[in-house]
Symmetry: C2
Subunit: 346 residues, 2 copies
DNA sequence: TTGTACGCGTTATCAA
DNA sequence: TTGATAACGCGTACAA
């Protein structure tokens, strides 16, 4: 019979088993402190009968562990993020951690408030899956938070560039765009347009610079008029396509900042009568599942999102469980996925 | 100066402000208990200086509120779920609640364990976004959990059929498939195949029965050989397409259990030289974003996922914040989205 | 208007 | 081998 009429606590178990709460605590936690097998059995019986589970809030309070891992994503509907989240969840789940998701839409205030909540909730770790946001106010605020968070013992990991003193995983943004641009060179393309991401995202600029680097290395001049702005979304890709229509005569290929953009671009282009890759070649970054089944299937750079998520999870657990920081383990291998959206000009 | 060298507690604030922790607590919680404006200012100054935030674990322990809302999804990479999650998060975030996600892949053990963790973590509410799983063991276990959870004061909401004594939102599965099937009748189709979802999901059978009902009402006989099994995924749709190829001569249209299936089906069909809708018509359920840009754009039933998510969020907040159960508010309006994947036979 | 003391459910320290 | 008791950080009845 429960003392409290709704929640079963350690007291109820102790009472039922006829022992002290200390003893109950010992069997719960498999303590090294000896407990006679007879009492142990007695306690276990009581636990089973009452369906008792220790209140993790209380455990967290005394152990200074919340079991909360904050995961900040820019857009959970973008497979880029959901695949990563899936990977993280898969491993943290095994270790009884709580994944606390925040969907920020790259809004600096929401992102900031999310971090603030995570701080109040004593998050043991935070993962910034979407990279840094470029904004002075954000920058200043986030620095303060990170300092306080670290002081609290919170472990912070970021994917994509995050220019603070935290564990930052280089997902190879720059390399990705450079690689795919060079691939286009090898297929004989030289007049290559680029569709960017949103200006507020640091990732946007990293990827953009990879494209420019490739141009430079090849001795080609960078043309401002070949740059069209996007926002990492399918809709953004469509809009970019409309702008591209005017310049289609000069351009033979277009590199997009991410797959969603490429998909939207191709869709709108097609609906305007331009054929891919016959009239213009298109490539993306990410290799999200949809790219495989696009029309035509998209040539892109594979970013192993799900695996990355798992690696982040492992990295988190290693730190949180054993206080060991894994550094070498996270090495993101990007790869070129050659499909049907590029025409060979040679 | 902090007493504890890493975490700032209410004690630190009290000390700095030269008052008792009670007073600090009062200003934090905007208590009705009077506090002189002078001390209030003093305390606020100290709070600001120390960047103090109350530890929500401790608050939760004493208030018996964890601020945790568990959200169980079958596949976070399926837009069907991520859109809903986005909606839920948007409203719960405003009220300082924590969204705790579990991705179960419809695995009964994972689903069960997720519920178990949520129980230990004193979740204030749980949302089953993916509907009931059909399995005797699962069924028996989940009933026990639900009972205990309710005893703990946990509020439970389910989307799609959930045959337990909890708040269940009828998303109109049966109506959806019936409606779309009748739409096909109106376009002159009578030999209509059906691609199911995974057998373990209750949703699968609800949707299936809508198709059968439509047939019955129309006076058409149900043919077992027109049924192909799928699993709610793109890949499952592709496999179904392969099976469909043999029977394509008799069939003029196919209803699929969800959009992902329809998309996969169309893709594979196309790659096997069958044109949609010229050779066969295809329809889906869900109206996930991708359907709009498929080739051809998919005719489907709109399930307002994001809005549903927000409604669930509001429902949750109403109950958790004011202990009011909103019943009428959640009324999911499905709608036929007519696009290009159906041929008019009349 | 302010502060003391207790309790939330748990674990750790110490004594028995 | 077992059990009081303090402590984690906070809110609140009660006292002052």
């Amino acid at each position: 019979m429960a003392i409290n009429n709704n929640k079963i606590s350690i007291k109820d178990v102790a009472k039922l088993a006829g022992v002290s709460i200390t003893t109950v605590s010992r069997v719960i936690n498999n303590s090294k402190h000896p407990v006679s097998s007879k009492t142990r059995v007695e306690v276990q019986k009581a636990i089973k009968e009452l369906n008792f589970q220790p209140n993790r809030l209380a455990q967290g309070l005394i152990n200074n562990k919340s079991s909360i891992i904050g995961v900040i994503v820019h857009d959970i509907s973008d497979t880029y993020f959901s695949e990563m989240v899936k990977g993280i969840e898969e491993v943290t789940f095994e270790n009884d951690y709580i994944i606390n998701i925040y969907n920020t839409d790259r809004d600096i205030h929401k992102e900031l408030q999310a971090v603030n909540m995570l701080k109040a909730n004593q998050a043991e770790a935070i993962v910034f899956t979407g990279g840094h946001l470029i904004d002075d106010f954000y920058d200043q605020q986030i620095r303060g938070y990170i300092k306080q968070l670290k002081q609290q013992g919170c472990y912070i990991i970021s994917v994509n560039p995050y220019p603070y003193d935290i564990r930052d995983i280089d997902i190879g943004n720059k390399l990705a765009t450079r690689t795919i641009t060079e691939y286009l060179f090898n297929k004989g393309h030289e007049n290559i347009a680029y569709v960017t991401g949103p200006a507020i995202s640091h990732t946007t600029w990293e990827r953009f610079s990879g494209y420019k680097d490739a141009l430079k290395n090849k001795g080609l001049i960078f043309r401002e008029e070949y740059v069209i702005s996007g926002d990492f979304t399918f809709e953004g890709g469509r809009k970019a396509a409309l702008e591209l229509l005017n310049r289609i005569s000069d351009i033979t290929a277009v590199v997009t900042a991410n797959d969603a953009t490429a998909l939207g671009l191709m869709w709108e282009l097609k609906h305007n009568g331009v054929n891919i890759p016959e009239d213009v070649s298109v490539v993306g970054i990410g290799n999200i599942p949809e790219t495989k089944y696009a029309y035509p299937p998209l040539t892109t750079i594979a970013l192993p999102l799900f695996e990355l998520g798992k690696k982040i999870g492992n990295c988190l657990m290693s730190k949180l469980l054993n206080n060991k920081v894994i550094l070498e383990d996270i090495d993101v291998k990007i790869g070129l996925i050659e499909r049907k959206s590029v025409k060979n000009l040679l």
